[in-house]
């Protein structure tokens, strides 16, 4: 079963994160992700960066991932 820590590691491997926290029960996960890469991007593009970092993991291992994406400014705001 996938753990929140694994998902954190997968995302961090593909996207530089200032802060990341993933919580979940092995089936449903909630992620809060802060990255400078999100600056100047629409929400859709921000989520696409996270999905790209996860790649095929989204198809096979992760059933449900809810996410909140923030720029460092929004996070500290």
């Amino acid at each position: 079963m996938v753990t929140p820590e694994q998902i954190e590691a997968w995302i961090k491997a593909g996207l530089p994160c200032d802060y990341i926290k993933v919580e979940g029960d092995g089936h449903h996960f909630e992620a809060t992700i802060v990255s400078a890469e999100f600056r100047g991007k629409m929400r859709v593009a921000q989520h696409q960066l996270v999905y790209r970092a996860l790649g095929d993991k989204m198809k096979a291992e992760i059933h449900a991932l809810s996410m909140r994406t923030l720029t460092p400014e929004e996070w500290h705001g």
């Binding site: 929400r43 989520h47 999905y51 198809k59």
Partner: protein
Amino acid sequence: MNIQDVIREQVTSHPVVLYMKGTPQFPQCGFSATAAQILKACGVNDFYAVNVLENPEIREGIKQFANWPTIPQLYINGQFVGGADIMRELYQSGELQKLLAAGH
């Protein structure tokens, strides 16, 4: 017509299209249920819903269409708006209502 053309036709011939698991009356996934409820809360009851569980080709094709790996997916006037999380954020900020009013 290949499946990408079918999807393009669907999203451009209806102002509001929701790709979901199940139907608005009987959603079969929590995220899809949320998405349908948000549209209704915005006063949009006649959106065009596509149940991807009835069509495996669309279920896979829609993920490529928007380069977005999850369902639900909302389109307004042919434009991909987002999934359930983004719909909720846009709804809470009032932006979704504006997008729907402009497109509907």
